[in-house]
């Protein structure tokens, strides 16, 4: 075999293992549960319903786009459709969380969440963007084969057979989530780098002072402003280096621990809705699926098909 062919075969093998390696389904199931619950919280956050969902609430005046909102308002359906949209999302996210009709639920959640900006973009934060991005990846995976009502119902249909069906999953939807999260941090870090207020170390000082966001009714005394300077630089460096830190298990672990600390700190100091929780939840995709599966099996002690570590 020539060296060229060997190299090509090795490349193909690497590519196949990168995208198509089979992993246990538990990571997908956990992502389904966590993002289903966070989606539910995000929808409930957009209440009172009369404020954000009917077209006569705090929603942009219809007139742009395809004219669907104008039409609905014109025929007097702006309120009914708004309520129906809200209710559908509530049901879909509940269904996704418990894993009932998991696949169609996730598709409905993705379509529903991704059209909220067209219905009413005003109350949306980046959390909706994160949610849509993760749901897009989960749509392609079978997230309901374990830890779901679907799995429980399927087991009940096979009386006497105690073995749980655990079909292996390709790793690529998980990889897509990882890449998406890396892009979020890199992009966010570069935007910060380009703004002078981050380079001069004052951004966190101003951010935690903002009356719309701050959680505590006081500002730090000037003698402690050095802590906000450190937080400013640390956040920017961590965000920019996040994708690079994913390449080695040790730095990956550090990046994720720092991420939990940063988002936890942000949540403590600022009211940002579900954004911090979404980002921390997305870290599930970075955990070794085999380790996740072992952890789940320790909890549920069910027999497992053997998988090799896939990170």
């Amino acid at each position: 075999m020539s060296q060229e062919v060997r190299l090509r075969n090795r490349l193909i093998a690497w590519w196949e293992s990168l995208w198509f390696e089979e992993v246990p389904p538990d990571s997908y199931a956990l992502l389904r549960i966590v993002f289903g619950a966070l989606g539910l919280v995000s929808v409930l956050e957009l209440t009172p319903v009369s404020m954000f969902w009917p077209l006569d609430g705090i929603t942009p005046i219809p007139g742009n786009g395809l004219g669907i909102r104008s039409y609905l308002l014109g025929v007097g359906l702006g309120t009914i459709v708004g309520w129906a949209y809200f209710s559908t999302l509530l049901i879909a996210f509940t269904s996704m969380t418990v894993g009932y009709m998991s696949r169609p639920s996730i598709v409905i959640c993705f379509v529903g969440a991704s059209f909220i900006p067209s219905w009413n973009h005003l109350p949306l934060s980046s959390a909706n963007q994160v949610l849509t991005s993760v749901l897009f990846c989960l749509v392609w995976a079978d997230c309901g084969s374990v830890l779901s009502l679907d799995a429980w119902l399927a087991a009940r249909r096979r009386p006497g057979d105690s073995r749980e069906e655990r079909p292996a999953q390709a790793i690529w939807p998980l990889r897509l989530i990882r890449i998406q999260v890396c892009i979020i941090y890199l992009n966010s870090g570069l935007w910060k780098f380009f703004n002078a207020v981050w380079r001069d170390g004052a951004a966190v000082h101003y951010s935690i002072s903002l009356n719309i966001f701050h959680r505590f009714p006081f500002t730090l005394p000037p003698s402690l402003d050095w802590t906000t300077t450190i937080a400013t630089y640390a956040t920017m460096f961590w965000e920019i280096s996040f994708p690079l830190m994913m390449f080695h298990p040790a730095t990956r672990r550090l990046a994720l621990i720092l991420g939990v600390l940063f988002h936890g700190g942000m949540w403590t100091m600022l009211e940002l809705g579900p954004f911090s929780w979404m980002m921390i939840a997305s870290y599930l995709a970075f955990l070794d699926p085999v380790a996740v599966s072992r952890m789940v099996s320790l909890r549920l002690s069910s027999p497992k098909k053997d998988f090799q570590s896939a990170t």
Binding site: E16, P60, S133, D200, G201, P217, P222, F275
Partner: protein, 276 residues
């Protein structure tokens, strides 16, 4: 590699490339701010060392996104179309340029009583309601503020949309428009309707609604606000926290866009008004 995997590989490569391309800020779509030197702080030892170094690094790095944007320009449209189709925008610039001011919004209702049918009512009293922030800022914010954060977001984004639309008109025509952009109309209408429903008698109704935007500068790093200023502002806000503040009709009931009002260190500007 099977045909299925090969096809999927092409799609995955395309998807990842599209995410990467869309994440590069591009002039005309999501331009980066112009490269400006940061303030070189001397009284903060960490910033004094890092800020000049980062400025120098940015000078070197700044052309990179522009170059990538230029190289990827031919596929940019198709990338945008693809990501728009799946609602996957890739601009993540939250808090990249945090405001240096505290922000407020209030809605003023001019209330009139029913007189001769068909004739316009004259306002007999006014009420002013603080609507942003939704949660009072003199207490620790917990569960309720989580829910209220979406209202604050909605009001802030509506204001940004209004300012952008307003600037576009001014850039185009060179003058302040007679018909203001309608981005703040939903806010005025929603709160006005709610006020009418909750607070007015059957023969009363809102005849004019005004949306005011207020700002109060936050102190720079290393400087503390005078306690007297903080207390005075809180006194004003606490009055608002009790609910819409009733007052007699001011001498001028037809204020226009840009009218200014001051309350302690909060400067209010009339952004939008509507006669009913």
């Amino acid at each position: 590699m099977s045909r299925y995997r090969l096809s999927l590989s092409v799609l995955l490569t395309w998807h990842v490339a599209a995410l990467g391309i869309a994440a590069v800020p591009s002039p005309g779509i999501n331009p980066l701010p112009p490269v400006a030197l940061s303030r070189h702080i001397v009284d903060d030892r960490i910033a004094a060392v890092l800020a000049p170094a980062l400025d120098a690094a940015l000078e070197i790095f700044a052309p990179v996104p522009r170059t990538i944007a230029r190289v990827t320009r031919p596929v940019r449209t198709i990338v945008e179309l693809y990501l728009d189709a799946f609602h996957l925008p890739q601009t993540w610039n939250m808090f990249s340029n945090p405001p240096t001011v505290d922000q407020y919004m209030r809605v003023r209702y001019y209330v009139g009583s029913e007189q001769v049918p068909g004739m316009p009512s004259r306002p007999t009293w006014v009420a002013t309601e603080l609507v942003l922030p939704a949660n009072r800022e003199d207490r620790i914010r917990t569960f309720q503020s989580f829910r209220d954060s979406s209202r604050d977001k909605a009001l802030s984004i509506a204001l940004d949309d209004f300012d952008r639309a307003f600037d576009r008109i001014v850039d185009r025509t060179g003058k302040i428009p007679q018909d203001l952009p309608d981005d703040l109309a939903p806010i005025g209408r929603y709160f006005s309707r709610k006020f009418e429903h909750d607070r007015l008698a059957a023969d009363e109704h809102v005849v004019r609604t005004e949306v005011w935007y207020g700002v109060a500068r936050n102190p720079a790093r290393g400087i503390a606000l005078e306690p007297s200023v903080v207390e005075a502002r809180l006194a004003v806000l606490r009055a608002y926290y009790t609910g819409p503040l009733r007052a007699s009709v001011p001498p001028s009931t037809h204020l226009g866009y840009g009218s200014i009002d001051k309350e302690v260190d909060i400067t209010w500007m009339l952004k939008y008004f509507e006669e009913q």
